[in-house]
């Protein structure tokens, strides 16, 4: 069993996130492995633990620092990493990114052998579009079982539970396939000291677009299918009226709502 998991390096949501003058995300700030991808790494590691001869390969696409996302995955227990690094990638849209990730999966297959499962998170914590996983599946022509809150892999089949607002669906796909997972699926492990030390010796391949057979014109700003028209920083919300409850807090609250015509 060979599992590829996508890991994105994103600006820390707890810090100040902003944009560059060319309207791309400012990636010079402190970054980290997108929290939602940790669930994908954990799901991959869990499956690998139950299989003989399983390997987990963490793949990232992004600038120099993005390798930190792969390192975190290696520290958690992934076996090897792939970093797609190319200046032409800057300002890629979702579709451009999906094309590169799909090509990276094919590259891994060329180098290592068939990939049975691609596991991704629900969305990145910066772009938050939640479209790349199915776009990769579409490009690879593989089945996708997405937004899994539970995942079971056995006998060449992946079974998931997808929780919606009104119902939960149980979905089955035949491998090779892609699965995206939610933050409900597991509790990601913290890297152990041993894991951190071991990660330093794990193989990490770096590829340029040409090595993946991706035309630079299909990605980056040149290949982008969307553009920013305008970016505005929203003025921070300001604190309004704060009262301390001295027995009338509930009534005061409703009076305020009434003054705003909200009740």
């Amino acid at each position: 069993m060979r599992i590829v998991t996508f890991v994105k390096y994103v600006p820390d949501a707890a810090g100040d996130r902003s944009f560059e003058s060319d309207n791309t995300v400012d990636r010079s700030v402190d970054g980290l492995l997108s929290e939602l991808d940790e669930y994908a790494v954990e799901a991959a590691l869990k499956i690998a633990e139950d299989e003989d001869d399983a390997e987990v390969i963490a793949v990232t696409v992004g600038p120099d620092d993005a390798v930190d996302a792969v390192r975190k995955a290696l520290q958690m227990g992934a076996d090897s990493g792939v970093h797609v690094l190319d200046d032409a990638l800057e300002a890629s849209c979702a579709l451009g990114t999906a094309k590169v990730l799909a090509a990276a999966v094919k590259k891994v297959e060329e180098e290592e052998g068939p990939v049975d499962l691609v596991i991704t998170g629900l969305a990145s914590t910066d772009g938050q579009m939640s479209v790349v996983p199915v776009q990769v599946a579409e490009l690879l022509g593989r089945p996708a079982a997405t937004q899994a809150s539970a995942l079971e892999v056995s006998g060449g089949t992946a079974k998931i539970r997808r929780d919606g607002d009104t119902a939960s669906q149980h979905i089955e796909v035949t491998l090779p396939a892609l699965v995206s997972v939610t933050d409900q699926i597991n509790e990601p492990r913290y890297p152990s000291f041993k894991g951190i030390m071991a990660a330093k010796k794990k193989p990490l391949e770096e590829y340029e677009l040409s090595e993946l057979g991706v035309d630079a014109g299909e990605v980056g700003a040149a290949g982008a299918t969307t553009e920013v028209v305008e970016l505005t920083e929203r003025p921070p919300r300001t604190a309004g009226e704060i009262v301390t409850d001295e027995g009338e807090g509930g009534n005061q609250l409703i009076e305020w709502l009434a003054s705003k015509k909200l009740v």
Partner: protein, 316 residues
């Protein structure tokens, strides 16, 4: 006038409010055509409602594959409609299914996609909030057909007379799209409250409830509101994940958001910061939620909420 396709969001033929909102946007951009995927009789029945909100045509696509398999057959249908009808643009609901259908159709048609739009102006220039609501971005699709996933609760539905003429779509999804089989569906018990992302008012509870959501639910019911929960409350198993408001849950922007016993971590703020009015009730006067509250009560939610509930009921 150029056609704008609207993918209908419905539950067993009941058209959701988000669909009427999309038709309202579509009407501003061109001539709305609703695409109803599901049972043919339900589609015919829904056509009158869709027509009342401006749909000139209602394309009804019925094939067992649409419900037997996850999204791919619907994506194939949408891509086919884009190729054959060459619409000016496509609007889909920003739901789990809606985004995935749109994302796949975008690959198939070489189109760009914008998600979570809260407004769409001429030329399909779509507005969205990013980085936990700290920035507003407007953008447009520059290749292929504009595909925009529209956030529920973004506009008030406006009635507009449309013919609502039903046309049956003759399209059979390929076997290649029939790979993710839905083997079973468990309906969830319904609370009878509005859907979280469609509600005009949301009352949410957090760690401060200590697991007792009764006062939160009582106020929600008095206000006709949906109930939300912080991640801490969901992780503790106090409330279902479907009700989670925040970065890894739902993003809501109701007229009124009431946060009870929620400290206001960035994870939560990301999901409610764009609400029109925010009210907070918290014992801790230093809770960050008060920094964004239009009105705050420092106090015990178990005292404040029941009194507020009573006050609302007394006004009725």
């Amino acid at each position: 006038m150029s056609e704008v396709l609207v993918l209908v969001d419905h539950v067993d033929g009941d058209v959701r409010k988000s669909t009427l909102e999309m038709l309202t946007f579509a009407k501003r951009l061109g001539e709305p055509t609703a695409v109803f995927v599901g049972d043919a009789a339900q589609g015919e029945a829904a056509a009158s409602t869709l027509g009342e909100y401006g749909a000139e045509k209602v394309l009804v696509a019925s094939d067992p594959a649409y419900s037997e398999f996850l999204v791919a057959p619907q994506a194939e249908l949408l891509a086919n409609l884009i190729e054959t009808r060459q619409p000016a643009g496509v609007l889909v609901p920003a739901t789990a299914d809606g985004r995935e259908i749109a994302a796949r159709a975008a690959v198939r048609t070489g189109s760009g996609i914008i998600t979570d739009a809260s407004d769409i102006a001429e030329g399909f220039v779509a507005t969205q909030s990013v980085f936990a609501g700290s920035y507003t971005v407007s953008g447009r699709v520059t290749k292929g057909t504009p595909i925009v996933a529209v956030k529920p609760n973004s506009v008030s539905p406006e009635a507009a007379a449309g013919a609502g003429a039903v046309e049956t779509v003759d399209f059979a999804p390929s076997d290649a799209a029939k790979t993710a089989r839905v083997v079973s569906v468990e309906e969830k018990p319904q609370s009878g409250r509005p859907q979280l992302n469609e509600a005009a008012i949301v009352v949410s509870g957090g760690r401060g409830t200590a697991g007792d959501f009764a006062p939160v639910e009582a106020l929600a019911d008095a206000l006709g509101a949906a109930v939300g929960a912080s991640r801490a409350a969901v992780d503790a198993g106090w409330y279902p994940h479907a009700n989670q408001v925040g970065q890894t849950g739902k993003t809501v922007s109701p007229q009124l958001y009431v946060a009870a016993g929620i400290s206001g971590a960035i994870q939560h703020r990301a999901g409610m910061q764009t609400s029109k009015n925010i009210v907070a009730i918290n014992k801790d006067d230093e809770a960050p939620i008060f920094e964004l509250a239009d009105y705050g009560v420092v106090g015990d939610l178990f005292q404040v909420l029941p009194q507020a509930t009573e006050a609302v009921n007394a006004r009725k």
